[in-house]
Amino acid sequence: MAQRQVTVGSSVGLHARPASLFAQAAAKAPVPVFIAKPGGDPVDARSILSVIGLDARGGDTVVLSAEGAGAEAVLDDLAAVVAANHDA
């Protein structure tokens, strides 16, 4: 299983627009992707309600995971969405 640890780049955290953009990107991925707080239960990355429910703030670390063909590339793309500062 592929994993990435990423720091949330937007100061609003994974809420509002950053959460929408992330869940939208996850929904387009060819494999299921999960997101969790370190040590927490992974949730479906396509679910904006689950993503918002993580309450990941700007500067928090989150763990992305995926399995299957293309998982590495998918995680690279999604990690970039999490790390980007969408406030700017």
Binding site: V12, A16, D44, S47, L49, D55
Partner: protein
Amino acid sequence: MSKTLHGLGVSAGSATGPARRLGTPPTLPGAEPPVADTGAEADRAVAALEQVGEFLRDRAAAASGQAADILAAEAMMACDPALASQVRGLAAAGRPAAWAASEALASYRAMLTAAGGYLAERAADLADIADRAVALLLGQPMPGIPAPGHPFVLVAADLAPADTATLDPATVLAIVTERGGPTSHTAILAKTLGIPAVVSCPAALTVADGTVVAVDGTDGTVVVEPTAGQVEQAARRAAERAARLAAARGPGRTSDGHPVTLLANIGGPADVPAAIAAGAEGIGLLRTEFLFLDRHDEPAGAEQRAVYAEVLAGMGGRKVVVRTLDAGADKPLAFASQQAEPNPALGIRGLRLDGLHPALLDTQLEALALAAKDTGTDAWVMAPMVSTPAEAAAFADRARGHGLPVAGVMIEVPAAALCAGQVFEQVDFVSIGTNDLSQYTFAADRQAGALAPLLDPWQPALLQLIAMTAAAGRTTGKPAGVCGEAASDPLLALVLAGLGITSLSMAPPALAEVRAALADVTLAQCQAAAKAALTAATPAAARAAARAVAEA
């Protein structure tokens, strides 16, 4: 056969068009119907959620800016896969589609509400999704503002902020509500958008959808199925009003030249062009909450400085009064922890928050002082929710310490009005917030619709407190303004001028009407109207007495 309904005109102007009722949220019947095919029921529930998502996506596409982002996020929530699987689970267990959707959304709503802050605000989005999905599944009309595809007169029992977030002033010709008073959300919104409105119209809901109505927001009448003659008369009155408003230009003054500065209330830099277009002589109230609410972290000084500078530069040297942050338990901040309070309106809000988080105010004052320096303009600053001369003195010291030479306070607590003379000794100006001053004077919650008559700005007790404040201003030679709803009532504006109020600040669309009203009368007439209103027994008597003097 035409019929005339009567209410309270709260936003001037007139309009004629077909009535459309605000959709009310559906209610689930007490008894759940039996389910024959649980699989089909699950499909129906999920299909309804997807249809809601599609509707919200269309709305997002038609909106712009932050509203579009919020609608797009709400659309994604409606189509959320985790939500869908929970709905399917409930349906599989035998719950009918509408109940399954409602219960699944309620459990997510509870989770967001428990998390508090920004997440709690999103709970309202889920309630909206639930209402829409349940309405679809039960075959009930969609809740919210109707979208018939043509301009219409919006008719409702009352309007809540959630109902009006997507209200488009281009398609809503006028508003008629059964309930609500002069300071209700409906009245404030209508004035802000410049839409004619009649509230407290008991027969409003007897008007059938599609019936043509002629609404007059000045005299508070709604003519149902007007005759051709009545439509013509309404159009003539509208034209006369437009001509009268167009004729009144320049700074606010009475017909004999007594100046009353006319200012605009704004919520951010985006409102500056509207204020200038309406001929505002300055900004009487820049609310700064927009910088703080709905975010996780305190806005940095640099960000605040840039926003304040944008407003100051946009107003090009005209007077700008900035109100420091007015937050509290009712408008919570994610980054300034505060315990829940049983009576938030009487709790730690406005300047009182400074006791818990003093850095907030220092950052704000410093940013404003730097913005004033950047733009080479004077910024006036005032604090909300001040109760005593000592609090006023402490705030003025802080402001001056940061290099802001003109410091004032809001008068919205009766204690501050009663000691207005001592307050004036500490500050350079005051601004009366009539909405909160009413709430505190009459011990009547602004949100409690049933108490609206107590919150009528024509209540003689409220006028007495304004008169005391204005008198103290005259004695000290310092400005005493009004920046609450009272300022935007053209007749009450005359009374306020007569009491000695030196500036009136209001939503920009209300300025023309107030300017025209002042230009029609002398200062002596204003003073006579003020005297008559102060000694009246009821708000209605105060209004009638003032009108009689003003029209004499």
